[in-house]
Structures are given as C-alpha cells and as structure tokens.
Symmetry: C3
Subunit: 663 residues, 3 copies
C-alpha cells in the first residue's frame, strides 16, 4: 500500500524542486502525480513544445526512487487554442457560451478538440514511453466538474442526432421508444431532435434519459480516445480521477477503458453536499459511510483495488464551510481508504498554491514550504500501512446510473434523491461492519451471501431473470421501493410495479405516495416495533409473498409496506417505503442473519469497522473516545481509540465485534 | 348534473377502445372530452389530415349514448409546423426563445400561428358539424399555462405598439397617461414603446399595467378567433378550461366569447401554491374555500352554471408533494362542485398515460387499465347527483384583474398577495355557509343583500357612483384596505385614498404601512375584543363615518383602523387593515346580520355548507367525524359525516345550521 | 447647519411652484436641489433645449432667499439618445443588454456617452454660471445604483485592455502579476484579456480584483470629466450623492475630484440589507451605527464636513418592509447627521410623486401637496440646528475598497462580509461614545490616539512601515483578523500572515478556519471571561507578542486567539477571530483606556452619544424612554429622552456619561 502526492513544479522556482522531492521521499511517498493542467506550460505556442522542465522533474522523482503518474493536460486548454478555435467551447442550455478564463471550457464532441487532444497526448506519451518509472497516466482531470458533463452546443446536437439514429434507426423508431404522441411531440425526422433547450414546460422524460445516456457515452468515447492513444506507446496503466458520487458519467461504461479506477476524496467537502445541517464532527472529518461508499463503488466496478488520486490534505476552498480537519484526520482517511480496498492514496497537493482559483486550498506544505499537519499525517500513514490483498465483500449493493438519471428528472417528491436512498441501506450495512461491493445490477451475484438493491426503478425482464436465478439458487435479496416502475425508454410499464419483478417479489404495488414532513407516517414490523418512514410510501398487495411490515395509524392500519417471498432456496424482501435508520437496520440485520453473514452489533454513527484480507480496521470518525471489546492484539493502535484515531488488528474480528463510545 | 371524462384514444391501441368506452358508460358518464393535443396525430404532415381514428372514437362514444366535447388542438402545435415557421415561438423577457419540446411554445400574436389555427380549426369543425352528439368545444388548453400568457417576441412588440396607438393615439397621449417625465422616460413616438425588457431598475408601473392588459387582450382575441370559427359551423357550445385563480387573463373579457366557463380543479395541488405549510388534511383533499372560490368565480362571471373540465382523479404529478387523496375525495369534489353551481364534472383523465411528461399523474384507471379509486368515486358521484337549478347567492364579492396586475407589480409588502387578501374575506363568508357570486366591480349589484370588495385598488368616479347607488338603495357594502389608491393609468391619485370613494366611505387614509411579522399589530373592535392584523395597516381620518375598529397598543392607541358610514338606506364599512381570521369573521358576521342574510354559526375550518336550488350540501374536508345538528332528512348521507364525506338535504338548512367535529 | 430639499418642479403644474417654494422657505430651508433626471425635459429633441422652466424655478428659489444645487441629468438619458446610439447601453456578464425603460442604462466607458455628457453639461453649466445663488452641483445620481457600476460591454472590454496595458505593459507583466500558470491560464497578449464572462468555474481572483479596480477607475474618470467641465464655468462646489456602504466605487479616489462628499441616507431601508431579522425599532428608525458609519466615512475621506444629499422623508418604496418611521424620526436623523459632521441635510423629496417607479416613496408633502410628518420634523430640525465646527475624532478606523473587492470574491465563509466585520469593531467604539474617522490605511495617523483596522487583508511593506511608525511613536493599534494575507495582485504571500506586518504584530497565524453556526467556538480573555466568536478563527503562534485571548474548550485549550505586542512607545493588539459583541467591547475598551481616550460606560444598543465642536448630542433610536445621568444644561431637550428623541448639551459630556433605558 502506497502513499503519493500531486506536485506542480511549474508553480515553483527550479531551485525549490530538489528540496521538495527529497522531502517527499523522506516521508516514504512512492508516487508523484505530475503535469495536470500544464498544457500552457508545455506548449506555449502552437507546436512550440517545451518539455525541458517536465523532463527534469520526472528525472528528479526517479532519482529519488519514486514513480511518476503523468496527466494528460486536456482539462485546461491553453488560451491560444481557444482563441484559434472558439468553436471548441461548450454552450449552456440557454445558449450561453462557456467562456475562457477558468478551466474545462471544451466540449468532448468537438472534432477540433479531439484532434488537438490527439496531438498533445501523442506528444507527451511518445516522450515518456521509455522512462521506466513513468508507470501510469491519469486522463484529463475530473470529467464533468463544474457542471461540464452536459453540453448544449451545435456539435453536441449533431452528435446526439447520430447517437439517436444509431439507437433507433429512424423517426418511427424514436417515436415508438419515446412515446411522442403525448402533447403532439412526434418527430418527422431524427434531424428534428435536439439537446434539451428552454421549452415552456418540462422536458420529455424519455428524451432526457437518452440525452443523459448520450452525454455519458460522449465522455466515455472521449476518454477512450485518450486511453487508446496512450496504450499505443507503452503498457503503463491508464486511470482517471473521478468525483464523489458523480452522477453524470456511467462508471461501469467508462471503466472498460481503464486499468484502474481512482477518485478524489475530500471528506469535509462532500459531507456538506448532503441533506440537513452537517454535525460538527463531520465538518472535521467527513461521514465515513459517504467516503466508503465511493471507495466501495470504485473498487466494486472493476472488482479490483482502486486509488484515491486526490486525498484532502487539510482545509479546502470549495465547500460552504471550511473547518480545519480534526487532528489526525489526514491519517485516518488514508487508513480508511486502504481498509476499503485502496492500494495507493495520493494527497492533493504538495504545497498550497499562491496564485489562482485555489489559494484557499491547503497542501501538505504551507505557503512558505514548511510542513503542515497533512505532511505529518501522510508520513505516518506511509509508515504504518502494509500490503494486503483485495477486499472480499459478502454483500453486493446494486447501483446503476440510468436510475440516477431517470429519478433525478422525475423525483416526484422534493427530497427523493437517489443517492440518499442508497445511503439509507448502505449505512445500515456499514453499521454492522459488513464490507459491500457496489456493483451494477447485471453483475455476477452468485458469490454474494446477500444482495441489496435500494431501488431498481428501471427494470427489464433480463434483470428479473438474473435476480430470480440468484435468489432461487439460495441468495437473499433485499429490494427497496420504486422498483420495476419504468422500461428502458423511461416509459411506465403497462402493469403495476414491480413490473417484471412481480413474480420474484410475489406482490404488486397497489398505490404509492410521497410523504411530506408534516405527515407522521410509521410502520410496524413483525415484532410489533414501530419505525418512521420518510419521503415515499407504497401500499402493497400480496400474492405469494407474506407481509412483514405493515402501516400503523388509523388510516392505513393493516395495509402492507414490506413483504417477504420465498423463491427456490432463497428469499426476497421488498420494502415499499423509504426506511428511516431503525427500519433500515431491522431489514439489514434480518437479511444478514438469514444469509449467515458475519456482522457486528450495531455500531454508533461515526465508528466503523472493515475487514480486508484478514485484517480488521476499526476507525473512529468522532470526537469521542471509543472502546473496542476484543481480546485481539493490534498491529496498529489498541483497543481504546482516541478521537479521530484508528486501530488495525491482524485478524477478522467482525463476527464478535462490539464498540462503544466513552461517556 | 353530469359526469364526464377526458379520453386520449390516441395513447392506446385500437383494441382497447371498446372496453374503455363501455366502462365509461357503465359508470354513468355522459360526456367524453377528446382530441386535446392531437394535432400531430390529426395532421402528421401539412395538409395530410388523418381523421379516421377520431371519427371512429367519436362514433363509438355516440354509440354508447354519450356526448363528445372536442378540443381544438392548438396548445400542442406539431413539430413540423414549428420547424417550418420558427417565428411562431415565444420569447422570454431576456430574449431567450421558448423552444420546441413540450407544449405551448406558440405566440398568440403570431400572424402565422393565427392562420394555422384557422386552418386546423376549420378542418375539424367542418368535419364534426353534422354529428349531433358532438355538443361542444374546448378551445386550446389552459391558456397561459407554464408562464406563457406573456410573451416578449417581435410580433408582440409590434402588436403592443398598435394596441398603445389605439388606446392613446400618439406619444403625447401615452406620455400623459403614463407620466413619463419621471426619470426622463418620455416617448417621442409610440414606435419607441416596447414590451418589458431587462432594464437596470424596475419597470414603469403604468407600462407594466398596460402590457398586462395587452397580453390579456391578445389571448382574448386569439380565443375569439377560435370561437368565431367554430360558430361558423354549428351551434355547439364553446368553452375553455381555465386554471386555479389564473392571474394573467381577464376572465370577464374572455367570457364574452364563450357560452360556458369551465376550469381545471386539482385540489391537492392548488393548496400547495398558497402561503405557509399545507396541513395534512389539505394535502389529502385540498382547501374547500380555495376550490369553491374558483367555482364561484367561474359561475359568477357569466351568472350561469359552469363545468369542471378537468377534475383531479387521484394523485398528481406537478405539485411539490403528491400525497394520495383521502378515501372518497374524488366523490367529495364532484358534490362540492355541484353544490357551487357546476352542471358537469369531467375527470382528467381516463387512464394513467405511460408516456411523456405526465406519467406521474393518475387517471380513473390504473396503468394496466383496471379501475382505480377515482373510477369508483366518479361512478358513485354519477349515481348520487341529480339535476338542480342554479345557485342563488345573496352576497357578491367584487374581483378584478386590473387590481391583480397593479398590485402584483407593486405589492410593497413581500406578503401582499391579492388572492390571499381576497381569500381572507371569502373564507369568512364561507365559514358562515353563505353562497357568494364572484363578480366584476361593475356588475349589477341590486340583487345582492350584501357586497364585499376585499380591495378596489384602482377605482374610478364611475365605480364610486355605481357603489354609492347600491349602498344608497339599501345595500350593505364591506370594503377592504388599499382601496381608491390608483387611477386607470396606474398612477397615484392626487388625493388621499380612497380617492373617488371618499364621500361614500366618509373617511380618508391618513397614512399606511406594511406590517412585517416582527410587529405585533392588533386592533380592538367596538366590543373591546382584540384582533390580530397582518401585512398592511392604514390609519384612518374620519369625516362623516364612525370609527368601528381602533388600533391597540401604546403607540397607536385610539387611532382608527376601520369605519362605518351610513349612506342613504345602506351602510359601507371600510376596513383599513388586512384582517386576521377573527377580525374577518367579525366584519362579515356583522355585515350579514345588518343585511338580514341567513347564515350559520361559524363552522370549523374544512367543514362547509352550501345551498343550491333548495338543497343543502354539508361537506367534510377533514379527517375528523362531523356531527350536523338538524332535524332534516337526507337525500344523500346523514347527519354524521365520516372523514371526507358529505350529506345532501332536500331543503335550505343554512339559517339554523350548526356543525361540530367529534372530539 | 442647514436643511434643504430635493424638488422636481417638472412633475407639477406651474401654478403650484410658488406655493411650494414659499413653504420651503417658511420651514427655514436653505437649499433646493433641482434638475436631477431632467434631461428629457431640458432637451426634448437633440439640440432643441428648453431651459425656460428651469430658469423660472431657479429664479423663484433665489427670490425666496434660498440657494440652488443643480444636478447634471446624466443618470437618465432621454429615449431619443439611446435610440440614436444604442451602443451606449451596458451589458450584463452573460451578454444581456441593459435596455431602455428605467434609468442608468449607460456605460461610463462609452465614448459616445462621454461626448453627449460633455454636450449637456456644458449647456447647463454655461447657462447658470452667472447666477450667484446656484452654489453647487451634484454630478449624475447615485453612481452604480441598480448594479450598474460594473459593465461587460465591448467598450468596457477595450477599455479594460488599455487599463491592463497601462498597468502591466505586456502579457508577460500580466502573467507575472496574476499568476496564470495555474490551470494554464497564461495570456499570449493583453488583447486576449476580457471582462469577466460566464466561465465554467470560478474567475481568477487576480483578474477579478483588477476588473473591480478598473470599474471603479472608470467611474472616477467619468465623474472627473463632469467635474472638470463644471469647473470651467464657475467656482461652485461639485459633489456627488453616494450610497450606503456602496462597495463598487473607491471613495478615496473619486473624492479627489470633489469639493464636498454627500450621501443618501435611508435608515429604515439600509438596515434591512444587513444580516438577520431587523428588530422593530430599527424598522422604524434604522440602526444608528449603520447610519453614522456612513456619516463618518463621508466625513473621514476628505476630513471635512459632508452633506446628506437625500434624507429619508417618511416611508419608502424599495426595502422589503416599509413600516412608518417612528414619530420624530425625520428630525432625529437630521440631528444625528449633524452630530457626526453634516453641514447640510437635504430631504428627498418635496412631494410624493404620482407617476413612475417611486410612487410608494413619501415626500415631505403628501400626494395632495399638504404637509406630511416629514415636513414638520424637517422644519423643527431647521429651527433647532445651529452652526458648529467640524468633528474632531480621537480614533481612526482604517477602511479600504481593495479589501472589499478581494474579500467579497473569496469570502471563504458564507457569512464573511467585510462590512459586517467592520461594523463589529465600529459598533463597539460607538457604544463607548467615541467619534471615529473612517479613513484609508495610508492616511496620516499621528493625530489619532488610537487606530482600529478591522482587517487589512491586502497589505504591503509600505503599509507595514506606516503602521509601525504610528505605533512606535506611541500609537495604540487594534488589528482584526485575516490581515496581511494577500499581496496587491490578490495572490497569497509566500509567508504566513500577517505577512509584512509580522514584525509589528510579533506573531504569525499558524492556521485559520471558518466557524459555522453549529460550532460553539469561544475564547477566554486575560480576566478569565469567556466570549463567543463567529465566522472566522485563527490560531496564533507568538514571537515577541504576548497572548491576551486564548481559545476555550477541550480541543483548542491554551492556543492563542489574540496577542499584544509592544513596539516603541505604543502597542499593537492583533485579534485573530471575528469578535462577538462582548469581545469587541473588551478589545475596544482596553484600547481606549490604554490610549487615554475619553469614553462613556457601555451604552445600550440604539442609544448613542456624539460630540461635535464642544456640543454633545445624545440620541435615542429606541421606543424606550432613556435617562441621562448628568448635571449638564441642555441646548435642545433635556436629560429624559422620549422614544426617538434627542438632547444636545453645550459641552463635551463623553468622559462621564452614563445613560440607561427606563424599565
Ligand atoms: Mg514506460
Ligand atoms: Mg352538431
Ligand atoms: Mg455661480
Ligand atoms: Zn458540446
Ligand atoms: Zn409574442
Ligand atoms: Zn460598458
């Protein structure tokens, strides 16, 4: 397991480089990421490349025994290029052009930008192909950042028409798939199709879903262009640094062109993008379940260890609030990532930059170059971490971007957020110490003791067969609400939900409604315990299934909210409500028990355990002291955790683990 | 009294039609609305009309003994038409064109769209003129929906200049009417006038008022075009389906071209467009006073029974929250409409549509075609309802779109909403069981025992004469605040309010102020009871009038908030504050007593009574059980109302009626 | 000390003028401001000037013994001019043109508008140069109102490039100053530079700061054009009416071209633009510390008495809430202005205007021309006020627009507002009865007993020398947080803050963080008292300085929040947190004591005292009665203040003053 750092030598004087690189090596770092956003420096004028500085720093890093990850510099096209070819720029939905003056102005569907990309990537790749310690590449930077995943320019309109023609053949195919008789929206020709534009009323949901597919496909294609070019020159690895639960790119698609997935982890920022007011401890160290969801996703998609390509180094500039991370948080995050399958954690960035848009973003080193807290935390993590095999998760959580796209266009309730629903189930699993692979619904499931699908809004017959095979073979499946509602065209199915999953679930949804805060909607489980539900509630009509949760309260007494169906050697539980935290725990604990998966007693919020390759990490994301009941010995730390501290045991403790906060 | 349904056969396979139509007839429905948004299906290419499908379904409906209401399909122009003539599209205020891809993109001032409208309307009207069971037409659909009542395109600019030239002759007339010396805004020529545009500061209020008049007039003219064309072919009725308190079209003007008024009633949606958090019962059945205000308006404008052209059938897609309607709500709404003067209630729509923007909107039938709760409710209403004459309301409430337009441009207080002020007075009347005609201030008033004008912000000498004649002849008039402030040009009058109404009121407004929430402004009536006021407070100087309500609290002790003036054989009460619910009841109860109008004791919120033609409906919009004290016999139901239930008596119970919620 | 009034004779019939002017004179007014927004009336067609009406009213004012202040009419160009030259109009950042139809549409960088300005100013100035009682001019009106201080048009882009070329020479100089290597933002030529535009991510902060400098410089240049033209014709004074804490124009720069500063004071409006819900008393009379900050700024910049050019006359139209001012408030404001150095208070406006955008704005006279409360208050003020010399303030508060510009672009915390931070310190000074000169950091400081700098975010070596000289010479300096962070290019300095001020402060900032509401961050002073802090907190490492305030609470116990350093004969206190009200008082009281400046016991909010030229005003901005403990005699009023009342003593009472609210 390795530690690395992002370095921008071009921001600093040449005299400083040796000191910097020496102190990276001193801290035990093994990787240095270079050249991101360096196009303007590498090619100050068209075809007048200046590689001397990059050659020098690449050599220096190698001389200190470290490896280099290079970046293609395409996220920041130089000014002269955009001036020469202004047609490269994106357009907003209302036609406003995204102007030069920050970054990411370019459209991935611009033929010109594709050819310019090829030119610069070839130039860089050919230059470093023979340098052995240049081991990998990051393509571009954070595709889609600043709302750039979806563009509305003329190139995109043309490309969207081609995409539709490829998918549907002609207008008749399109009209059939989308259902355009509604409101006289029929197309006479695919040439009439366009990207979303400012219409008086809502967009057609089928068009929206296809446009979002197209946008994701466009980025996938652009990334493939880069990846294939890079592979022409060497067998270095190719990765891209993705973002926290980024909704606009289908990670399962783009992963086909990557050797390695990586993501950029900024825990104190991500947590401020979720519902409600962030608790103080989370402002200081993030929400471990939000962070590890991303870890488990970027591990799950390829079924391989991942990297954190940018790890928060200290305070950051972009969220609403910028509290200082807690003491030790930068070390805690590295261990947490490794416990969830990271092989390398690369801190962003070496030193606080004095210029430009990110001055309020810390580095491992202060503005004067001296070490900051992040440097000491990173060095300690580098010292403590050791090599382990991959995570072996007993549970799969099914996740799918098409559901993100369909549900965000028609949330129906203001607080129906796909990611929040997923988190309700995921958090319950993590509170029981269970490792979770986040995978696509079509993934091979036979190896999993249990499968949780928070929602399968769009569902096909094939998916039904796939899940039925899993359950019939002895699998235990937990399905969440709003499942089996839509077909692949984002049309309603002409049958009650869960549509193609009806036989599997053994029940249908008789009606649904949104649950505003002013409703006090509760359900009662088969033990007679009442649980709150929120946001979404379905009334279920059972067929072969048995009710397991019913509605409480006079109006709905005795009507069914959740059912269990036996299918072959397994069971499926369908939960027709968005569960509160207690109901989610009840459903998950019962699932784990049924499937015989080891789990802990329910851990308090902010305290988490994770097993990787026979080692157990116990991690404390709170400002409380935490006691771990165990007779294990500890490879790192011990059975009493300081605030924001962790311990690592050399064996799998999950089955009998109990932790408690000191009061 | 009849029940009907909106049907879109073009969304369903031909094989289903007979089942559907049969089951409509089985439920006792008498009307089927057809062809809305069907232009693309009727004319897939220019002049290549396909009427076969419509002929067939029209015949089928007739064969089952039901009548057809057809719709002109102009709310959804086909894609080929907008591609041929992109100039038809509207523009936003900042110049953004309203693009194709939903509905209502067209500008009513587009000469091209007018000619296209004529073409398609003639085609349809000529085809069905000889079909006896095609009894009427709905023009277009929901004029102004999605903020399309006001357009800022070049055609509108040109038309607005013509409109101004017609009204004012030349620039001098315009300058005089608007008062353009202020900020050097003089026009040299009417050709300099334009629709509102993004200026640095606020718009000139006189321009705004005239632009809003012009927009309403434009829709009136466009609708007249359609109505006159339709009447060339047959003597069927012509109506249009208006919307909940729709502010941009002067209903009194457009009604001149219609035989029948109708509106689209979605109680659980409308209630979420009002102030504050919606109580749970209202999320399930709406606010009866909000619904019936619309009933009374659409009945009052023409003084004839109206239709509900679209009645909510179950859960709906467009408000923030979509709770399921309460059990029986779909029946309750039909009775409520009839009690307030509806002759026909048409449910929208037969079956939940699988495609397009309104998938989350229920129908009477589920997505699989089976009956949903709405179907059973509608069938029960069809069975229970019986024919009655029109409502005979003892009270008129004066309402006027020019006041809506002027006050929404200069609300002065953030919560000064015209409709909310109107509702304060209207709700007090309805809580006393009184039927109310909502009419224009210039309406004939001699038949009314009492008249309530929540505000007459713009007031003329003619209006003063009209009201004085009413009062002098023995009428009882209650006037609300902010009355008599403006002239017809939306300029201040050079005298204190109520301006031309000063002699009638016998007092003037010495000063006014807005009342933010952090002020605790209260008044005390002549019984010494304190009442809260909100939003707006005037200090009144009496002349011939007597004070009836004074301000409480040290700062304003003894100053006058409301006065009563005796004029001829009647009285006028002027209330210079926005009354809270208790003060509104006090004012209204006293008005009803003075005028000798039968009324109930004050009913609890959500429980309402209404008399039509010698029958009394008592309606329960709450989840409580309600007891009615009466020795009447019941045509429908009985003296104990279940939640969301109703009863109908065969006589007028209002005078002695008392109802109470069970506790 | 004088009272005046703004008059718009062009809004009223000629017959009324004599009455109006007579009643101005009767009230003791000495100045009448005329001709603002009169271009359309003065020049109805190009070169067809009509001065007759203005000649007449100017003469009439003179005949009644009053003086005239004329306005250049450029804030409201006539419609014909904008139609002839549409290129004069401003553009928004997204390219939307600011259209004709209100006011202030013009761009100060339009060469055409500059020549038109010259034309109209010469015409007016030449006409009235020989009229002795035309004593001064106001240029334009409220530069920058309605967000017009920053324009994004082509003229501005061209002018910005010239400005940059002047400042930096060439692209290399620009790239060095801004730090454009970050994100490959290098310029190849200054011709690539542009005004801010809709880029995907944030703007470059160095570009933003320079653009804001450029916008301010552009207005300064435009005003200089007017001022120099006016001075060609006579030696009348030239002023401009600025606005409440207006952030976009550097008052220190523009003041060089003005003889007199004046501002427009609308207390009940300004107070609603600050954080949180406004208390009722402030809705009725404003916040005295907010008002007087503006007085002290407009006095401090030139070190001379100032004018209130527009004084609120009653209720106003533009803030969210429009309560009536308290009884006597219009008199209270005039006294308050004079106490803080005003020589003349001009009420806006004579009579409520019946037409146009400001109908809901009161005048001293009602809409019918009769006197309103403001007239009586103004007349009373005119009678009570007497001539005095200038304010002699013992304390300087350092304030700077470059800090406003830099911090508003990178506030880092959502509630980090420059003006609010300044107010925290200023309010503490005013609660102790101390007069404060608001001056530029480079101002001569030797005359001040104490200096307070709420923040010096951008700080240079020269500034450090300047402040060190002040302190070493015996000065007492209080510095607020976030000081010494940036260089003049808005880049971070490569050393810890306070950068160039480190030796002076004797300490450095080891880290900082934002303090969201959910943190309970407190500090403890050297007396052991705990104080709340908000928004911003720094942890300080001391060198020569001594800690005076430390953080409380387990996590940060013992770390330093504020230090004191002895330098030569004086001291500097650096406070690294945004102080709550108690900590600000503690810091200020200690500063005043150290520097031997007379001050009162801490006065309650809303009660304030101010000394001018040996007279003490005690002013009550609350609805409570207030007792003043003193044996002084009173020139105006007495030792018991009614609500919203005041008293004036003929000597300096500050040293021993104590006031208390009656309970
Ligand atoms: Mg290699
Ligand atoms: Mg007929
Ligand atoms: Mg002179
Ligand atoms: Zn594009
Ligand atoms: Zn138009
Ligand atoms: Zn400009």
């Amino acid at each position: 397991m390795s530690i690395g750092v992002c370095y921008y030598p071009e921001h600093w004087s040449r005299e400083r480089w040796e000191t910097d690189v020496q102190e990276m090596a001193d801290a035990g770092f093994e990787y240095v990421r270079l050249a991101e956003f360096s196009w303007g420096r590498l090619e100050p004028e068209r075809n007048a490349f200046d590689f001397e500085w990059l050659d020098e720093i690449v050599a220096l890093v190698g001389d200190h025994g470290m490896n280099v990850v290079l970046c293609t510099p395409t996220a920041g096209p130089p000014r002269w290029l955009l001036e020469e070819h202004p047609e490269i720029r994106q357009s907003d939905r209302d036609g406003t052009v995204r102007e030069v003056g920050s970054r990411r102005e370019y459209c991935v569907n611009s033929p010109r930008y594709r050819s310019e990309t090829e030119r610069v990537v070839r130039e860089m790749a050919s230059r470093y192909a023979d340098v052995p310690h240049v081991v990998g590449w990051q393509t571009d930077n954070e595709y889609g950042c600043h709302d750039t995943a979806r563009c509305y320019c003329g190139d995109c309109t043309a490309a969207f028409r081609d995409w539709l023609a490829e998918r549907y053949g002609d207008a008749e195919g399109l009209n059939d798939a989308w259902g355009t008789t509604f409101w006289s929206q029929q197309y006479d020709s695919i040439e009439q199709a366009s990207v979303p534009a400012p219409t008086p009323a809502q967009d057609h949901p089928s068009m929206v879903l296809d446009y979002r597919r197209f946008c994701s496909d466009s980025i996938v294609a652009y990334n493939r262009l880069q990846a294939e070019l890079l592979r022409e020159y060497d067998d270095w690895f190719v990765t891209h640094n993705f973002m926290d639960r980024f909704p606009a790119i289908d990670l399962y698609d783009i992963a086909d062109d990557l050797d390695l997935l990586s993501w950029d982890s900024y825990p104190t920022g991500h947590v401020q993008a979720t519902e409600g007011q962030t608790p103080p401890d989370q402002l200081k160290a993030g929400d471990p379940d939000l962070i590890s969801f991303n870890h488990d996703l970027h591990r799950g998609v390829l079924g391989r260890p991942f990297w954190v390509m940018e790890q928060q180094p200290g305070d950051i500039n972009w969220p609403p609030h910028s509290a200082q991370p807690a003491e030790g948080a930068m070390r805690l995050w590295a261990h947490h990532a490794v416990a969830h399958g990271a092989d390398t954690v690369v801190y962003f960035r070496w030193r606080r930059c004095l210029e430009g848009q990110e001055q309020y973003h810390a580095g491992l080193r202060r503005r004067d170059g001296s070490p900051d807290r992040g440097y000491h935390d990173a060095a300690r993590a580098a010292e403590e971490l050791f090599d382990v095999g991959n995570v072996d998760a007993p549970v799969a959580l099914l996740h799918d971007y098409e559901n993100v796209w369909a549900l965000s266009e028609q949330p129906h309730a203001p607080d129906f957020d796909y990611w929040a629903l997923v988190q309700s189930f995921y958090r319950a699993l993590r509170a029981r110490g269970v490792q979770v692979d986040v995978v696509h619904p079509t993934a091979e499931l036979s190896g999993y003791g249990a499968v949780v699908a928070p929602t399968l809004h769009i569902a096909t017959e094939d998916l039904a067969d796939h899940l039925t095979e899993y359950v019939a073979g002895g699998g235990e499946l937990l399905l969440g609400p709003r499942t089996g509602v839509k077909d692949e065209g984002n049309n309603l199915r002409p049958v009650a939900p869960p549509g193609p999953l009806t036989a599997l679930v053994g029940a249908t949804v008789e009606r649904y409604e949104t649950v505003p805060d002013q409703f006090e909607r509760t359900v009662v489980d088969d033990d007679g315990t009442e649980h709150a539900v929120r946001t979404w509630a379905e009334r279920i009509e059972t067929d072969t299934a048995d009710p397991v949760v019913e509605y409480a309260g006079s109006e709905r007494e005795g009507s069914t909210a959740s059912v269990r169906n036996a299918v072959g050697d397994g069971h499926v539980v369908y939960c027709g409500v968005w569960p509160g935290q207690d109901l989610a725990d009840e459903l998950v604990a019962s699932l784990l028990t049924r499937s015989g998966i080891d789990h802990t007693t329910r851990m308090p919020d902010g305290v988490r355990a994770a097993v990787r390759d026979g080692h157990t990490w116990v991690l404390n994301f709170t400002s409380d002291h935490v006691d771990i009941e165990t007779d294990s010995e500890w490879a790192v730390g011990n059975a009493t955790l300081e605030p924001f501290d962790l311990a690592v045991a050399d064996r799998d403790l999950i089955g009998g683990l109990a932790v408690s906060k000191q009061t």
